[in-house]
Amino acid sequence: MPWYLQLALRQLFPAGRRRPSFFFLVSVLGVTLGVMILVIVQSVMGGFDKEHRSKMVMTSGHVDVRAGGAVIHSQDRIMDIIAGHDEVAAAVPYAQGIVMLTSGNRPAFPVIMGIDFSQKEQVVPFKEQNLVFSGSVDDMDDDSVLLSSRLADKLAAWVGSEVEVYTPLMIEKLKADEVMLPRRLRVCGVFETGWTPVDSNTMVCTLPLMQDLYELGNGVHGVSIRLKEDSDEAAWNLAFELNGELDNGIYAQTWMDLNRDFLWILAFEKNMMLFLLLFIVLVAAFAISVAQLLTVMRKTREIGLLEAMGARPLHLALLYCFQGFFIGLLGVVFGSLLAVAALHYRDPVISFLAQITQSRAALEQFYQFTHMPVYYDSHDFVVISVATLVISTLAGLIPAVRAAYMKPAEALRSE
């Protein structure tokens, strides 16, 4: 081991009964707290991110084949092309639009989604995930609908209620002075996916009903596809391959393409949090710098001696840079361990806080969770660790340069 590395370690961790210096402990504590907060925030943000991603995939599938809003009449050919890809678990044609819905005197303008329930494998796992919490998806027919939970709340419509549907085509016909009566449909179930954009304003019906309401004939608006493997790369690959096989005007997009803006905001939020919280580490770096400067001042004569014995300025600089690095390293290790421990016990902490503030119901209603999602991303750990180590090492640079440029005779003369 080079002498400057050994001496750096010895100055930080004295042998025998001597204790590490107070300034060293404060520096490590500062970096530890910074890293702990960074890891906690990034892991929780990662948890929410993961949760959002899984909900998006659950409600829209991995890949979506569309014709830019136009009606597709060649869905059989599309289904044949999709069937040629072994990685596909389910492919379901759908049609979607907007309708006006009334229940009693309460109106709503939900998104209506007509799904081909005759397909054996479904993209949206209504049954597998028990998304229908009231009623049953088995009761679906061409005169019934499923309502999302908040839509049902808004309309005060529950299982067995009847709702009236007005389509945009009816309004067109009204302009031509034709009298069109609304379509009366029975609510056969209420579902909740946990994905707010869907839960707040969606109505699901059978594909034939939707084709009838929108007068699509046998046409559909698209085919949603679920993959066997939940992988972003597999989704990209399938979309790429399908785009080479599909007719002109029909194209495949991944769920990431469809939610690009939302995913960008999630990534931006996470990166901004990382950037802002890194300032905590930066503050800790000042503590390292001050502590190391004090050490250099305290050891001025020792530095003079080392120079007199033949130490090169670079080695003297490394002696104090390494100390900054080691402080950073300890902060990364302790900070990460404490963060993982804190996140491990997050649920009891949240429950306790919800209990003493009597906010459990509000927590479930507005945040839709009582279990805080956490996702440990190795990339986050690497970024936090590298950034912390770089900042800590640089913090040791100022005292290191001071030590390196000390004149030996002046250093030895110093009081």
Partner: protein, 227 residues
């Protein structure tokens, strides 16, 4: 190895002044001396007369304002600054009044440090042998903080001799010690320098210690005189 009596260090008209604000203090005036291989010389004088400054100039840890310095016939000013520290670490050993041991290392570690800092492969057996010769066989793993002043200075002497230097510069090595400990350290310093064949330049207040060296110089107000 240098031949006996060959000149290993030569200083010609070294001068040094320090500036403090607008005032200029001339500390050293045209000091010249030669150190021969295996020989010893002493520089005696009052506090503040420039003895330590001269030693700093001889070891080139401080630059002279004028004059020339030669180590083994080579002009020191012509040695590249990047190599100077290493050359010094191999050519000479230094002992200071205040010992300057590294408290984080034990006695053996301090002695080995001299070799490691100078870029020489540390010879543990030699370090142990040096510590044994200065009477610290039992204190090799002791922290400098637990050693007496005399013991610390003996570790410093062993450290200075670790790289088999041709020249030993000792700046008031007994200055912080009582008479008895000082005498022990001085005896030991003279003996091991003789055993190692190292020349010795001793700066001291003590007439008796100075008298034990081959050549004696006296410094007065920055002027160096042979006695």
């Amino acid at each position: 190895m240098n031949e006996k009596n060959s000149i290993i260090l030569k200083a010609e008209k070294l001068a040094k002044s320090f500036h403090s604000g607008s005032a200029c203090v001339n500390v050293l005036h045209d000091a010249s001396l030669c150190v021969r291989a295996g020989r010893s010389l002493s520089i005696r004088g009052e506090s503040g007369c420039g003895k330590t400054t001269l030693l700093n100039l001889l070891s080139r840890i401080e630059s002279a304002d004028s004059g020339q310095l030669f180590w083994q016939g080579r002009e020191v000013d012509k040695i590249r600054s990047s190599r100077l520290a290493r050359e010094r670490g191999r050519f000479m050993g230094m002992v200071f009044q205040a010992y300057y041991l590294v408290p984080e290392l034990d006695s053996l570690g301090n002695v080995l440090l001299a070799a490691r800092v100078a870029g020489i492969k540390p010879d543990r057996a030699r370090a142990e042998s040096l510590l044994e010769r200065v009477g610290l066989k039992e204190r090799m793993s002791a922290s400098p903080l637990t050693l007496s002043g005399g013991e610390r200075q003996r570790v410093a002497v062993a450290r200075a001799l670790m790289n088999k230097p041709q020249l030993m510069l000792a700046d008031e090595p007994t200055g912080n010690l009582d008479e008895k400990s000082g005498s022990v350290v001085m005896d030991m310093l003279m003996a091991v320098c003789a055993e190692e064949g190292a020349s010795l330049v001793l700066v001291t207040h003590n007439r008796a210690f100075a008298a034990r060296t081959g050549e004696q110089f006296v410094m007065h107000d920055g002027h160096l005189f042979a006695e």
